[in-house]
């Protein structure tokens, strides 16, 4: 698979084939020799990324570690079964996504107040307007159904392609487009600046 050019102006970590090759080598060492060092490195490559993604999916703080460890339990036990049909990152994030859905379902059954991600985290802005937009965006994101939010976060927070998002969510590419289309419509309703932009008709 040729390396795709990534022109994203933001400095986020983006899953790329170059990373995939080195991570597959780690997985191979885990599968062949149960290499703890390789496992620890792979765990470290994903811990921060998954922690933030799960927090932004409103997975409760106390469940995040369990979701990550359940995910890497699967990575450890199924390392030899990974056939490489998809990128390693889509496999791992896809496992985490399904574990997160289970955690969210379980959390709904518990009579405990929801603990969405820290609102303060989006209150840092370079100007008052920026700050307001960030807060509006946070509110908009919280209104999205989890499937739509995940498609949006995978696209923008982690910088995945449409095909990769489809592989992670285990759904057709067109379903990803539809979910993101609906998410975009919802965000426009809550973020005045976006509504103004889309109001410019041709």
């Amino acid at each position: 698979m040729p390396l795709q050019s990534v022109e994203n102006p933001n400095s986020r970590a983006v899953a790329q084939p170059a990373n995939d090759a080195s991570e597959r080598e780690l997985l191979d060492r885990i599968a062949r020799s149960r290499d703890q060092k390789a496992f620890r490195t792979l765990y470290g490559n994903y811990y921060q990324r998954l922690s933030r993604l799960l927090a932004r999916m409103s997975v409760r703080r106390e469940d995040i570690e369990e979701v990550i460890n359940d995910t890497f339990w699967v990575v450890w036990t199924k390392a030899s079964e990974f056939r490489g049909a998809s990128q390693l990152s889509t496999w791992i994030i896809g496992i985490a996504y399904r574990r997160a859905l289970n955690a969210l379902r379980r959390a709904k059954l518990r009579p405990v107040a929801d603990q969405p991600f820290d609102e303060d985290s989006v209150s840092v802005g370079s100007s008052e307007e920026d700050e307001t937009n960030q807060q509006w965006l946070s509110l908009g994101l919280e209104r999205l159904p989890v499937e739509q939010r995940m498609a949006l976060e995978l696209t923008y927070t982690l910088g995945h392609s449409c095909e990769e998002v489809a592989a992670i969510l285990d759904c057709p590419v067109n379903t990803v487009k539809t979910r993101l289309f609906r998410a975009r419509e919802t965000l426009k309703q809550v973020l005045p600046q976006l509504a103004g932009m889309s109001g410019e008709k041709s």
């Binding site: 369990e66 460890n69 989006v122 965006l137 927070t157 995945h160 976006l194």
Partner: protein
């Protein structure tokens, strides 16, 4: 009004998020960019998508980062779970499975031996405790404390480093006034409670957990909320 073919417009519109994040495949990028050049509606939408992109990226960049110590602690829990599971399924002959390095196998066997002894103590205590109360019905997760709450004594969850001898474990417990009352759980975790004497001398689950967590023979020590 810009000239546009309806289907092309709809397809380009759907792909704009990936034009904004730079991950559109080359063969699509060419025609989507060409369409955006002549379609003001898509240009405005692309600007909106880039705004969402930058907002989401900034929210992510400013969100609280887990500490490195959290990552290590979390990994230790997972590794203890793996060790416990592999010890349970490992052959006791000590010959090891194919591909497993010999030192790891011997460590596993030593850990298994220690775990069996401590498990016997724990099971005995658990049996006594169950005989006086109702068995807990809650689903127990990997990170749950082992066993139900059967006393009001301050308690901690402990995971010992693989290879720690039973005498070392006993010494550690004795110094802190702790007794194991349940375990090991799925992740090799034990529940230990403070003796009345230790409580009377000012020890709490938090202070004991803080001391235990600094010991190299302990990979996890956390107070259990009462």
């Amino acid at each position: 009004m810009s000239p546009r073919i309806p289907d092309t417009h709809a397809e380009a519109w759907a792909l704009l998020p990936w034009l904004a994040n730079g991950r559109l495949a080359a063969e699509d990028r060419e025609w989507v960019e060409a369409h955006v050049q002549v379609c003001a509606e898509c240009r405005a939408e692309l600007a909106a998508q880039r705004l969402i992109d930058s907002h989401v990226a900034r929210a992510d960049a400013t969100s609280p980062q887990p500490a490195a110590s959290d990552e290590q602690r979390s990994f230790n829990k997972l590794w203890a779970r793996i060790e416990a599971a592999e010890s349970a399924s490992a052959p006791i002959t000590g010959t090891g499975s194919a591909g497993s390095p010999a030192p790891r196998t011997s460590r596993t066997v030593r850990w298994l031996a220690a775990a069996v002894v401590v498990q016997a103590i724990g099971l005995g205590a658990l049996g006594l405790a169950f005989s006086n109360g109702e068995r807990g019905k809650d689903y127990v997760t990997v990170t749950s404390p082992v066993g139900g709450t059967r006393s009001n004594a301050p308690a901690v969850t402990l995971v010992f480093s693989p290879g720690t001898s039973i005498s070392t474990i006993n010494t550690l417990l004795m110094h802190q006034g702790l007794s194991i009352v349940a375990g090991p759980g799925l992740s090799g975790n034990f529940r230990a409670e403070l003796s009345p004497d230790a409580v009377a001398s000012g020890a709490t689950a938090e202070t004991v957990a803080a001391v235990m967590s600094k010991d190299p023979n302990v990979s996890l020590a956390e107070p259990i909320a009462r």
